[in-house]
């Protein structure tokens, strides 16, 4: 079965660890859709969030191989229903003065921010989960998107609710 997976990989915060992790995916024939990395609450640890698609069985094999890296401490294959995920995107959109207000309206509807105004462009900072950002991108396309930069998805598993046991 093919699925998109969001892997949350806790690693030692040491030089070269990121390249060990990513090269493993490449070596085993996986294309990483998105990747985000940053230090955690513990400065000796980093969290790498990887979005990757592929056969469930071969992904399980990659996860097992990932576990074998000495610097990898923990791997979670996050359940899409039990995680919160966000991405930040910067859209630079064509917005000549006469259409500028339309673009600003879209930004407002999606509760995003205009962070730069040029002669003929606007740059919007948008944060959210995948679907929201995709919907917004769709609308903006009509005006002409000149450049996009994304942080990649970051995600955490949801906190325990009442009555849920620690698994």
């Amino acid at each position: 079965m093919q699925h998109k997976h969001t892997l949350s990989v806790l690693v030692e915060n040491k030089p070269g660890v990121l390249s060990r992790v990513t090269s493993l995916f490449a070596r085993r024939g996986f294309n990483i859709d998105s990747l985000a990395v940053g230090v955690t609450e513990d400065p000796t640890l980093s969290r790498i969030t990887i979005v990757v698609g592929g056969e469930d069985t071969s992904l399980e094999q990659v996860a097992k191989q990932l576990h074998k890296l000495i610097n990898v401490i923990k791997i979670q294959d996050l359940d899409p229903h039990e995680m919160v995920d966000r991405e930040l995107v910067l859209f630079k959109v064509n917005a000549p003065p006469d259409r500028r207000h339309e673009v600003i309206e879209i930004a407002n509807v999606f509760r995003t921010k205009v962070v730069d105004v040029g002669k003929n462009t606007l740059t919007i900072e948008a944060t959210g989960a995948g679907e929201k950002l995709a919907a917004m991108e769709d609308l903006l396309r009509a005006y002409g998107i000149k450049e996009v930069a994304r942080t990649g998805r970051i995600a955490l598993s949801r906190g325990l609710r009442e009555g849920q046991a620690q698994g």
Binding site: P15, G16, S19, R20, Q61, H67, K68, L69, I70, V72
Partner: protein, 582 residues
């Protein structure tokens, strides 16, 4: 205590218990070699090529279970180790390879003899380090040896920049290690172990399938105990050869591409495959969809990534083979389980009698298999290590030697590295000084590391090289004969070039040539009796093939060559089989 990084490195090797170091110097590692000059507890071997240093450490580890160290210079010295490291990684052999690196301020500038060896070896090491702070050396080295030797063993590389060796530090050997991401599972899951014992107690046609993991876990006693308790037949892979005595009545051979028919048939027919320290390699399984299809599978391995990788498993057990096997034995004892394999063994013995390993032996023709049989017979009463090169020589060695003692078989499995045998034999001889060490070689392979004849001569290591000289890259020629219409493209060597006897003599070895079957024994006896290294150039029948053979991608019970006999389904009509499975 204050000392330089180089001195700290040497002191760390001593603290890690290293007895042998294989090395080759160069600019950036001179401080370390200088510190080694005074290290009397470490035997230092100067090889003639860095690849051979790694293979020698590999051979040493296979026969002793202990890791050796390798030390080479940066750039070409480091890149020359790559094949050796890949070989050790594929076969899960522990060792620590130290490479010199250019000084930290110039790393990343394409400095003279700079190569990114940690980048290059990420996929072929269990772990590697670039040490930028000399104070970390003792800790890194302690970790390196710990990682190399525990869990699923493997090579670890430590890259040491020139300035790190010169800096002064306060030496402190760490008492504990901080490896939060490294916790190999030792104990198998108790419930799974019970389940395995249950299945074993009920199986009518069980089969133990044992590999290199049994040797690296030191689990051969437990394997034998289990086999004998329940009278389980045992097959061992190329990597597992020696994990079970090959002259034992329960031993059923090596499975796979060049396995005996009776071995492969027993895999096809078994109802319970008990896989221990194996990885269902394609050279063993052939077509996966047709492999052991009638069996439930128990898979015991210390590496969780191996379980279910190629073949779905019914009872997965992650853990140390020795621990798990002894727990299974204890469980079976508790259950008062009784062997039920009498009929199954009769079937296997019947196959064994009908389809033995076999070769034609025309009068007066020197056959390669015969040479190996004579090596086997003439070393029967002498502690012996058999090493091999790669190709037909290796497969015949698998088929015709009877390894009876664990860790006395040294052969490149996963990578199939030509040129492995001689340097590995040198390492093996250092690890087992009292043993006769024989390298069964091909005329092609031996030329890939023949420069190590100098190392053996100078270090007084009396290894014996038995060349099965067919004047071909024989295994390549065999595939061309079978699958490429006998078009021998780039596979023909010349039996008389080089003159191997002269080559032996050039290095101060004993050298001899044999062309007649009648002279085999005398030549081997003389070489084995010689107190230095010896080489015999056996001019064997040139176009002999290794049989039986499973065509690449084929099902393992469909074999070419050997004695005719149908696939298992045909044979199962026999009365014996009816009697056995009602």
């Amino acid at each position: 205590m204050k000392m330089t990084g180089a001195e700290a490195l040497v002191r760390s090797l001593e603290n890690a218990g290293v007895e042998v170091l294989f090395g080759y110097p160069g600019g950036v590692v001179l401080p370390i070699f200088d510190a080694l000059y005074d290290a009397t507890s470490i035997r230092q071997i100067l090889v003639r090529h860095e690849q051979a240093a790694v293979h020698a450490a590999d051979g040493y580890a296979r026969v002793t279970g202990k890791p050796a160290a390798v030390l080479v210079t940066s750039g070409p010295g480091a890149t020359n180790t790559v094949t050796g490291i890949a070989n050790a990684y594929m076969d899960s052999i522990p060792m620590v390879v130290f490479t010199g690196q250019v000084a930290t301020p110039v790393i990343g500038t394409d400095a003279f003899q700079e190569s990114d060896i940690t980048g290059i070896t990420i996929p072929i090491t269990k772990h590697n380090y670039l040490v930028k702070d000399a104070a970390e050396l003792p800790e890194v080295i302690a970790e390196a040896f710990h990682i190399a030797t525990t869990g699923r063993p493997g090579p670890v590389l430590v890259d040491v920049p020139a300035d790190v060796g010169k800096r002064e530090i306060t030496y402190k050997w760490p008492e504990t290690l901080n490896l939060p991401g490294y916790k190999p599972t030792f104990k198998g899951h108790a419930k799974m172990i019970k389940q395995a014992a249950q299945l074993i107690s009920k199986a009518r046609k069980p089969l133990l399938y044992a590999g290199g993991g049994v040797l690296s876990a030191g689990a051969w006693k437990e394997l034998k105990e289990l086999a004998e308790l329940m009278q389980l037949p045992v097959v061992t892979t190329l990597m597992g050869k020696g994990a079970f005595p090959e002259d034992h009545h329960l031993f059923v051979g090596m499975p796979g591409m060049h396995g005996a028919k009776y071995t492969n048939y027993s895999i096809t027919e078994t109802d319970l495959l008990i896989a221990v320290g194996v990885r269902f390699d394609d050279r063993v399984t052939g077509k996966l969809a047709a492999f052991a299809t009638k069996a439930k599978i128990i898979h015991i391995d210390v590496d969780p990534a191996e379980i279910g990788k190629n073949k779905a498993v019914d009872v997965p057990i992650v853990g140390d083979a020795r621990y798990v096997l002894s727990e299974i034995v204890a469980e079976l004892r508790k259950m008062n389980a009784e062997p039920r394999t009498d009929a199954w063994m009769r079937v296997i013995d019947d196959w064994r009698a009908r389809y033995p390993l076999h070769y034609h032996h025309p009068d007066g023709v020197l056959m390669p298999q015969h040479v190996i049989e004579r090596v086997r017979e003439l070393t029967k009463d002498r502690p012996t290590v058999i090493c091999t090169e790669v190709g037909q020589n290796q497969m015949w060695a698998c088929q015709y030697t009877h390894i009876r003692e664990p860790r006395t078989w040294v052969s490149s499995g996963g990578l199939g590295t030509m040129g492995f045998g001689l340097p590995a034999a040198i390492g093996a001889q250092l690890g087992r000084p009292g043993y006769l060490v024989v390298d069964i070689a091909g005329d092609g392979s031996i030329q890939m590391n023949s420069q190590e004849m100098a190392t053996a001569a100078i270090e007084k290591l009396p290894v014996k090289v038995v060349i099965l000289n067919n004047g071909y890259l024989g295994m390549v020629r065999q595939w061309q004969e079978l699958f490429y219409d006998r078009r021998y493209s780039s596979s023909t060597l010349a039996q008389d070039c080089p003159d191997f006897v002269k080559l032996a003599e050039a290095y101060g070895w004993h050298g001899a040539r044999v062309t007649e079957p009648g002279d085999v024994d005398a030549a081997l006896t003389a070489a084995f009796a010689h107190d230095g290294p010896a080489l015999i150039d056996f001019r064997v029948s040139r176009e002999e093939c290794v049989y039986p053979m499973v065509a690449p991608g084929g099902s393992i019970d469909e074999m070419l060559g050997g004695i005719p006999g149908g696939p298992v389904s045909e044979m199962l009509d026999g009365e014996l089989l009816e009697e056995v499975w009602e």
